[in-house]
Amino acid sequence: MTAVINENPIIQVNNLKFFYPGDARALHGIDLSFPEKNVTALIGPSGCGKSTLLRCLNRMNDLIDGCRVEGEITLEGENIYGKNTDIIELRRRVGMVFQKSNPFPKSIYENVIYGLRIAGEKDKKLFDERVEKSLKAAALWDEVKDRLQESALGLSGGQMQRLCIARAIAVNPKVILMDEPCSALDPKSTARVEETIKDLRDDFTIIIVTHNMQQAARVSDHTAFLFEGNLIEYGLTDQLFVKPQVKQTEDYITGRFG
């Protein structure tokens, strides 16, 4: 285990262990810190626990009955597994984009403002503003600005995924978690989503899981390599890809396994 990045961390993971029901351990004590307003990529072979780690960060794992977490994760210094954590508040601060796009069967407009609505917001002007801003940030505005009231289910796969990004952005989170956001997209849509991610870097902290080495290299500032529930190597993307410190990392990124 190497270089823990200390520049201005927003999330710190300390000795995180995660057990699926039946005491199936998926994470074996992870220490990691995510710097603010940066893109961090999580890479690793299938089943190594990337998604599990990601879901721990906004406690989506709570939905699984009988799972268990040990260790600590702090968001801006506060333990999110503490006794007084408000999960709803946490999830507002840590948004998520899923591997398979999952827009609601509602209009594009309603999809974007969903997070605001459930927060009790009613201001129509704020809605309009946010919709435009978020869709622009997700690079979708030009394509859908004339059909905001149409069903989101009529969009293409790539558009839907960007809509999901816009939906996550609309609530102004601190962190956006993305679990293989491009895995179901064609190269062109992938390129657009990647563009979007790069644009968002200035305002949000982004943690992205990907199987695509090039993608990780293209979009991320830092990269963490996980293997069988352990963090193997973590560092600046440029360094990790050019000069990996650990043999396993090198084998993985050069495609010798995984």
Partner: protein, 742 residues
């Protein structure tokens, strides 16, 4: 792929498609076939009546001077007879007019002659003789199988002498009317040229020693009316007397007391003072038939009026004539009315006001007519001596769209109503076959059942699918599904014999618990939310809330049970039922809609629950995750994402439950009073279409009006469920297009 295999796959595909198509079609066809079968039985209700000229002939052996005063015909339409002035009854064959035989009236001495004759009831003839005496004679027919003659069926006839009335002391009357009832009470009414009017009543009076003693009373009266009396009728029992005048007045008398005939009222029936030309009583002696100068035919009976007491009121206006009405006659077996004028005989039905047939003999004028006692035939005699025999085919005269669905003013009712009361003990009962209260009953029962079942089932489904732990769901769902398998007979039985008395006893507690249980729930949920913030309780995991909720509900019910009687004492003077009746006029029926709501709800909940639960569980978890990841609470997720997405399924479940409730028979049959009332009150019962069919079909004579009306109600039930299902399907498709992508 191997070409042979490919071929096989394609062939299997074709076969499967074919089988599925045939199966689907077969279902559709059998449903349509059933509908056609049912509809076919009910259709004759709306067939128009038919008449058929069966024979037309001159009478054999009729002397030129023979004047025919009355005619009659047997109910098999085989033998007819005529009564002449000399008091002979000549029987003839109705097919060709050939003479059969001739009998002399028993009472006749041979020296008197008949002046007039009037037929009433079942071939009763009231005969007025030239010496002023009156006799009542009856002709009887008996079919039998003649053993001597190769078991040939033939009809024997017989004359019965029923009563004789002595001549009045004043000389010959202008108009006479006489009746005798089954106890031998004789009533004779005479009108003399001088305007004097005499009522004579003879009664058998029980003496102290048991021996009957005949008492006779005569009353001479002056008639106080503007016009002169032009028509007169007496009810068959001789109790009601009606007089009609040339100025359109009707006088109503009550002759029930031998020494005190009472003039009940004098009514100006027609404001234009048209002459009343004919009066008679409809079968059953309740309604009066009035024929007038202008050809109008109407029926009347006294209706209770708050100010003036009983007031003779026009109830039905029947099909009229272009000429003055000469005579009106009731049918001897139903509420049909015959009227004769220059344009022939009209047959109409009183209740339905339907004009059935007109019978006329071309240019020849009908002088006399007689109807068979079954109403299936009429013979007429024209001024040219032609006898015509008509067969009538009037299958369901009392049924029309108006009587089925509209308000009808039935005999003895204070106003027009919708009523279902298919039969009573007597022949002369006016059947009340309105389907409206039954349709109303179906909708009412369904409404209350759904009011109870839908929220419970849907909230239950939401809880089990979204909030409860999976293990708990694994118990709850099969348990509720087993509920659906309970025979409705058992539910109905429990509702009637256990629930109904229980609720009747603890009405106050029940209402109290309706308030207390939700209130306690709210309160405990609020407390729970607060308590969860405290650390030790946080360990109680989600999905076990019911462990806290269940005791709260039990407690609330217990409190309601304890406080209920006290509350009743305090607010409703001890008896809620009595209070209800006093304050709102609603009678508390122990088998009411509360029971129905519970019992039928019990039958409907499993269906709605299961279908709703399935569709809620089938909402893709990714949608739920998306919502939760955006910071939505579980309830927000359910309300904004899960429910809309599951709405097609929930809606379908509700509609299937609705259809089930509409068709539900056993529960309502057992748990309501089955009274066909039109009252939305939850405190009384109803009679829905389905239960009505179950109750009445065993009693309904095959192919009778009731039988066919019941089949019609089945068609309506069918159509109702069809509409519900179609609407449900359309709405479901819409919802699906809007929310679904799965």
């Amino acid at each position: 792929m191997n070409p042979a295999f490919l071929k096989k796959v394609k062939r299997n595909d074709r076969i499967a498609r074919w089988v599925i198509t045939v199966g689907g079609m077969a279902i559709i066809f059998s449903v349509i076939f059933i509908l056609i079968l049912i509809a076919e039985v009910s259709l004759p209700l709306f067939l128009s009546p038919d008449k058929d000229l069966h024979a037309s002939f001159q009478l054999e052996g009729r002397a030129a001077e023979e004047k025919i005063l009355a005619m009659g015909v047997d109910e098999y339409l085989e033998t007819g007879y005529r009564l002449d002035q000399a008091g002979r009854v000549n029987f003839f064959n109705i097919a060709d007019g050939s003479a059969i035989d001739s009998l002399q009236l028993v009472s006749d001495t041979g020296s008197r002659r008949l002046i007039t004759a009037q037929t009433y009831g079942r071939l009763n003839h009231m005969l007025v003789w030239d010496d002023g005496s009156v006799t009542i004679e009856r002709v009887k027919f008996f079919p039998f199988f003649d053993e001597a003659d190769d078991n040939q069926r033939s009809i024997r006839h017989e004359l019965e002498h029923r009563a004789i009335f002595a001549p009045p002391s004043y000389g010959l009357p202008v108009k006479t009317m006489a009746r005798v009832n089954d106890e031998g009470r004789q009533v004779r009414v005479d009108l003399f040229r001088s305007g004097i009017f005499q009522i004579t009543i003879i009664e058998e009076e029980e003496s102290l020693f048991g021996a009957g003693e005949r008492v006779q009373e005569s009353h001479q009266l002056e008639i106080d009316s503007v016009g002169e009396v032009t028509a007169m009728t007496l009810s068959t029992d001789g109790i009601k007397l009606y007089l009609g005048t040339s100025k359109g007045e009707i006088l109503r008398w009550d002759l029930s007391e031998i020494d005190h005939p009472v003039l009940e009222e004098t009514t100006q029936a027609f404001l234009d003072q048209r002459e009343i030309t004919a009066l008679n009583m409809v079968f059953g002696d309740v309604s009066l038939i009035v024929g007038d100068q202008q050809g109008g035919v109407s029926t009347w009976f006294p209706v209770r009026d708050a100010d003036v007491g009983w007031k003779l009121t026009q109830i039905h206006q029947l099909h009229g004539h272009a000429h003055a009405v000469q005579d009106v006659q009731p049918s001897p077996h139903d509420k049909s009315v015959l009227s004769i004028a220059a344009d022939g005989i009209n047959v109409s039905h009183m209740t339905s006001e339907r004009f059935l047939v007109n019978i006329a003999n071309g240019a020849e004028k009908i002088e006399a007519f007689a109807q068979s006692t079954r109403g299936n035939g009429i013979i007429t005699l024209s001024d040219h001596g032609t006898v015509q025999s008509w067969k009538l085919d009037i299958p369901h005269p009392e049924v029309s769209l108006k009587t089925l669905f509209g308000k009808v003013w039935y005999e003895g009712y204070p106003e027009p109503t919708w009523a279902w009361q298919s039969s009573a003990g007597t022949d002369d009962y006016e059947p009340k076959l309105s389907l409206t209260p039954l349709i109303f009953g179906t909708l009412k029962g369904t409404f209350y059942a759904m009011l109870f079942a839908v929220p419970l089932a849907i909230f239950g489904a939401i809880y089990t699918s979204q909030f409860a732990r999976p293990k708990f769901k694994g118990i709850i769902k099969p348990a509720v599904e087993v509920m659906a398998a309970i025979p409705t007979v058992i539910i109905g039985f429990l509702a009637a014999l256990w629930l109904a008395p229980l609720i009747e006893r603890s009405l106050g507690s029940m209402f109290l618990s309706l308030i207390l249980v939700p209130a306690a729930l709210m309160l405990s949920i609020a407390l729970w939310q607060g308590a969860r913030k405290l650390s030790p309780l946080k360990q109680v995991e989600r999905g076990y809330e019911f462990l806290v909720i269940a005791p709260v509900i039990v407690l609330a019910v217990a409190i309601a049970a304890i406080l209920g009687p006290g509350l009743e004492d305090w607010l409703f003077a001890g008896d809620l039922k009595q209070w209800l009746f006093n304050e709102t006029g609603t009678r508390y029926d122990p088998r009411n809609c509360i029971i129905i709501a519970f019992a039928m709800g019990f039958a409907v909940i499993p269906i709605i629950f299961t279908i709703s639960e399935d569709s809620l569980s089938n909402v893709p978890p990714s949608l739920k995750a998306a919502s939760l990841a955006l910071g939505a609470s579980r309830w927000q997720t359910v309300w904004r994402v899960i429910l809309p997405s599951a709405s097609p399924g929930i809606f379908a479940g509700t509609m299937i439950g609705f259809g089930r409730a509409v068709g539900e028979t056993m529960i309502v049959l057992m748990a309501t009073g089955n009274t066909a009332i039109m009252d939305l009150s939850i405190f009384n019962g109803m009679r829905p279409l389905s239960a009505n069919i179950a109750v009445e079909i065993p009693e309904a004579p095959v192919d009778g009006s009731l039988y066919r009306t019941l089949f019609l109600s089945a068609v309506i039930l069918f159509i109702m469920t069809f509409i519900v299902n179609t609407v449900a399907e359309i709405v479901r498709q819409r919802l699906r297009a809007k929310y679904g992508r799965f």
